[in-house]
């Protein structure tokens, strides 16, 4: 029999994806070796100059990268803790179970930038409800223009937006767990806390790892929220790598240099995500 039908199924998708992507990727690499900017647009060849500049003379990039790492790890950690707790709470029978499940899912269905526009008014320093509340205690925190509070605000908005995604993956995981281990634990007289530590958590470990990695990947792209909420400010207090590259490339039009930044950033992301996945697998699976 002719087994070549398989290519008819695979190739349309594969070729479309490669077709759309091949040029951008190759071109990014080529761009990164040029000095294309708004004064001299063009594909000249300057060797590794951009990369040398990046590694020796660009503190702002590395700062933005560590800021991004801090923001994404913190938000994903919070999302995991909260998402898992919520999933556990609406897993078994509670009143209005389905109502709460829908409610907890809603934020991820809303467009982040549009909700961020609302959040901006929410955290407005004189007209927003948050400071209306704090004014009861006689303080008006500067949510969007204080170095630390601006980060806190970004984290709050990100947690609001994406905890539902974590919640969804973990709840779907909980609902697919086999019943037998729980029965066995009940027969052995385990209470809810012991059941969680010895049964639920170990069974959920693989799903947890998957969910955390997916969220880390998505969180590493944080940019929309920052753009609308703080524009990276105050100063560079909330500037993430993506946002910094965006400024260099599409605001200052240092196209060549931003391509070098992009490419380096992509490589760093791939390496760090691989390391994190390996670590997570070790951390969560090994204990069992």
């Amino acid at each position: 029999m002719n087994f070549n039908h398989k290519f008819v199924f695979l190739l349309p998708g594969l070729l479309v994806l490669i077709g759309i992507l091949i040029f951008p990727i190759v071109f990014t690499v080529r761009l990164s070796l040029s000095s294309w900017d708004s004064f001299y647009p063009g594909l000249d060849f300057i060797g590794l100059d951009n990369y040398i500049r990046l590694f020796t003379d660009d503190k702002r990039f590395w700062e933005s990268f560590f800021r991004l790492s801090f923001l994404s790890v913190t938000t994903v950690f919070l999302q995991y803790i909260i998402g898992f707790s919520l999933a556990l709470m609406v897993w078994k029978d509670i009143i209005f179970k389905r109502f709460f499940r829908v409610l907890f899912l809603i934020p991820m269905m809303t467009t982040p930038v549009i909700m961020t526009v609302i959040w901006r008014t929410f955290f407005h320093e004189s007209l927003g409800p948050v400071n209306d509340f704090f004014s009861l205690f006689g303080i008006t925190p500067l949510w969007l223009s204080n170095n630390i509070l601006a980060k806190v605000t970004v984290i709050i908005v990100e947690v609001w937006q994406w905890t539902p995604f974590m919640f969804l993956l973990l709840l779907a995981g909980l609902l697919s767990l086999p019943k037998e281990p729980f029965l066995a634990a009940s027969i052995d007289g385990a209470g809810p806390i012991r059941k969680f530590i010895y049964v639920t958590f170990p069974l959920m470990a693989p799903i947890s790892i998957g969910a955390i990695i997916i969220r880390l990947i998505e969180a590493s792209k944080i940019m929309d929220t920052v753009y609308v909420l703080t524009s990276g400010g105050p100063g560079t207090a909330t500037e993430t790598s993506s946002y910094y590259i965006f400024i260099k490339g599409l605001r200052e039009f240092q196209i060549g240099y931003s391509a070098a930044l992009s490419f380096t950033y992509l490589i760093i992301m791939i390496i760090s995500l691989t390391i994190i996945s390996k670590l997570l697998v070790k951390l969560l699976i090994k204990k069992i």
């Binding site: 992507l21 790598s241 965006f246």
Partner: protein
């Protein structure tokens, strides 16, 4: 002790629920305010704390010439781009996922898992990395500021999601079903469309929903690759924000923009409770 747990549980659920709806309630309240009510400081309850006004909602349907906020065209643009890109991604992604789930591929050291990973790994790519070359590429193709250019880009965003969900789904559909269809006289394409697809509806719906969600909520590419000719909803709303900010119309248009996908939350929950999602997501 049990009562303590229970109280704690409901306390947390209530607090989180309040947190979830707070911005919506705030936006709803703001959408009925006017200049004076907004600048007078935070107020929440109409009639009691401020005199409600319908101005914020009226501007949504007024023409731009008369100072209206024209979100109708961006609305349809967004629907068109999201649905078309999702549909194409689902079709191509499902076909590829079927091939990866059923047949063995081998080219040198590259095997099925590597091809699957190639598809899914496109989600790792930060949008910013692609933005500049996409900008130049679409400019070269004359597709900048054009819906079809955006659709092309969205396919890259969405196809990985379709492949991710459908490969897992097909792996759980017994291969013997397709084989039986072949034996019963279907060629591989008939077997796929007459037997495999009708039995994959839950997976297709979940994949479709996820494509629609992630297409609908994208801002970045729409922001970079379109300017004036075509605008998608998020870009339009953010543009409202950066111009002089009438909070009432901003809130009203924001609420209108996020409303349709909230329906999706209900559908996702239905699938979740029926247990279909657990199979389709993992």
């Amino acid at each position: 002790m049990r009562t303590f747990y229970l109280t704690l549980k409901y306390l947390i659920i209530t607090l989180w629920s309040l947190f979830v709806i707070a911005p919506f309630l705030w936006a709803l309240s703001t959408s009925f305010k006017d200049f004076n009510s907004v600048t007078g400081g935070a107020t929440y309850i109409p009639w009691l704390q401020f005199e409600p006004s319908l101005e914020g909602w009226k501007v949504l349907v007024r023409s731009p010439a008369k100072g209206g906020v024209d979100i109708i065209e961006p609305y349809f643009n967004s629907i068109f781009v999201t649905c078309t890109a999702s549909l194409i991604s689902i079709i191509l992604g499902t076909l590829a996922a079927y091939a990866l789930s059923r047949f063995k591929f081998k080219a040198g050291f590259i095997k099925n898992n590597d091809i699957t990973f190639f598809f899914i790994s496109q989600r790792i790519m930060p949008p910013i990395v692609l933005s500049i070359p996409f900008f130049l590429m679409l400019g070269f193709l004359g597709l900048l500021d054009n819906l079809f250019g955006l659709i092309l880009v969205y396919i890259v965003l969405l196809m990985p999601i379709a492949v991710w969900i459908m490969v897992d789904f097909f792996n759980k559909v017994p291969q013997e079903i397709d084989e039986t269809a072949l034996i019963d006289g279907c060629n591989p394409y008939q077997a796929f469309f007459k037997v495999v697809v009708p039995n994959s509806i839950p997976g297709l719906i979940v994949a479709g929903l996820f494509c629609i969600i992630f297409g609908w909520i994208d801002f970045f590419f729409a922001f970079i690759l379109t300017f004036t000719e075509v605008q998608l909803l998020p870009v339009k709303i953010v543009a409202l924000n950066s111009s002089v900010t009438p909070w009432w119309s901003l809130s009203a248009s924001a609420l209108v923009s996020v409303a349709p996908l909230i329906v999706v939350a209900f559908i996702v929950e239905r699938y979740l409770s029926k247990g279909n999602l657990s199979g389709a997501l993992k």
